[in-house]
C-alpha cells in the first residue's frame, strides 16, 4: 500500500468514525446545545467524506452553507430557548429495533445497486454551466424558494410577538 493510499484510508476511517460518534452524541446527550454542536461536527465529517469521494467544491459548499450557516443558526436559536430535555418513555427498545432494521435496509438496498468505479468528476466551470444552462428552471425555482423561505421565516418569527 502506498503512503497516499494509507493517508486516504486513514482520513476516510477517521471521518467515518467521527461522524458516527458525533451522531450518537447528538442523539444521546441531554443538552440540546451540545446536540446542535455535535450536528455541526457530523456535517463537517460528512463534508470531509464528500471531499474524499472527489466532490471538493461540493464539500466546501456543504461546510459554508450547511455547517457554517444553518447549523450555527440552529445552535444560537437553541441557546435562546430554555427548554427541558425529554424522551418518550418505554419506546426505546422498539425505536432501537426499528432504527437497526432501517439501517440494514438502507445498506442492503443501496449496496445492491450495481455501482461502477467512480467516473471522471466535473470541474466547477462545467457545473456552473450545467446549472445555468441545462438546469436554469430548477435553479430559478430554488432562488424563488429561498427568497420565499426567508420572508416566511421572518413572518413566522414575528408572529409570536404580542
Amino acid at each position: 500500500m502506498y503512503l497516499s493510499d494509507f493517508l486516504f484510508w486513514g482520513a476516510f476511517a477517521t471521518l467515518s468514525i467521527t461522524a458516527v460518534l458525533f451522531a450518537l452524541i447528538a442523539v444521546k446527550t441531554k443538552d440540546s446545545v451540545y446536540a446542535a454542536i455535535s450536528l455541526g461536527f457530523v456535517g463537517s465529517s460528512v463534508a470531509g467524506m464528500i471531499a474524499l469521494i472527489g466532490f471538493g467544491y461540493l464539500a466546501v459548499f456543504h461546510l459554508i452553507i450547511y455547517v457554517g450557516a444553518a447549523v450555527t443558526f440552529m445552535t444560537f436559536s437553541v441557546l435562546m430557548l430554555k427548554e427541558k430535555p425529554g424522551t418518550i418513555r418505554g419506546i426505546w427498545p422498539l425505536a432501537l429495533l426499528n432504527s437497526v432494521l432501517l439501517g440494514v435496509v438502507v445498506f442492503l438496498v443501496t449496496s445492491r445497486i450495481p455501482l461502477s468505479s467512480p467516473k471522471a468528476l466535473p470541474g466547477i466551470v462545467e457545473v456552473a454551466e450545467t446549472l445555468l444552462v441545462k438546469y436554469w428552471f430548477p435553479m430559478l425555482l430554488t432562488i424563488l424558494s429561498l427568497a420565499t423561505v426567508i420572508i416566511e421565516g421572518i413572518v413566522i418569527a414575528r408572529g409570536g410577538e404580542r
Binding site: 467515518s16 461522524a19 451522531a23 450518537l24 447528538a26 442523539v27 440540546s32 446536540a35 450536528l39 457530523v42 460528512v46 467524506m49 464528500i50 469521494i53 466532490f55 461540493l58 452553507i65 450547511y66 450557516a69 444553518a70 447549523v71 440552529m74 436559536s77 435562546m80 430557548l81 427548554e83 427541558k84 425529554g86 424522551t87 418518550i88 419506546i91 426505546w92 425505536a95 426499528n98 432504527s99 432501517l102 439501517g103 438502507v106 445498506f107 443501496t110 449496496s111 455501482l115 461502477s116 468505479s117 467516473k119 471522471a120 468528476l121 462545467e126 457545473v127 450545467t130 441545462k134 430554488t142 429561498l146 423561505v149 426567508i150 416566511e152 421565516g153 413566522i156 418569527a157 409570536g160
Partner: protein, 100 residues
C-alpha cells in the same frame, strides 16, 4: 472494501441513529437534529451514486438539495421559536392546537 461500500455503511449507520433519535425524543429541537442526521446520511448516498452514475447531474442536485435544506432549517427553527413563545415549551406532545 472500497470507498463506495464504506460510504454506504456510514450512511446506513447515520440513518439508523437519526431514526432512533427522531422516534424517541419528545423535544422538537432534538427531533429536528435527528432528522438532519438522516439528511446527512442521504446526502452521502446521493454523492456516492452521483460519483458512479452521473457526476454532473448529481453535483447539481446535491447543490440544490443542500441550499434548500439550509433554508428549511431556518423555517423550522422559526416555527420552534414561535411554538416556544406560545407554549413556553418545545415538547411536541404539548402542541395540540392543530388537532381537531
Amino acid at each position: 472494501m472500497n470507498v463506495i461500500l464504506g460510504s454506504i455503511g456510514v450512511a446506513a449507520t447515520l440513518f439508523a441513529v437519526g431514526a432512533y433519535g427522531a422516534i424517541t425524543h419528545r423535544n422538537i429541537i432534538r427531533v429536528l437534529i435527528s432528522l438532519e442526521l438522516m439528511f446527512n446520511s442521504v446526502l452521502i448516498l446521493l454523492v456516492v451514486l452521483a460519483a458512479t452514475r452521473a457526476p454532473l447531474d448529481g453535483y447539481v442536485l446535491a447543490l440544490i438539495v443542500i441550499a434548500l435544506t439550509s433554508s428549511e432549517i431556518g423555517v423550522i427553527v422559526s416555527i420552534i421559536v414561535l411554538l416556544f413563545r406560545r407554549l413556553g415549551s418545545t415538547d411536541v406532545t404539548q402542541a395540540k392546537t392543530l388537532k381537531g
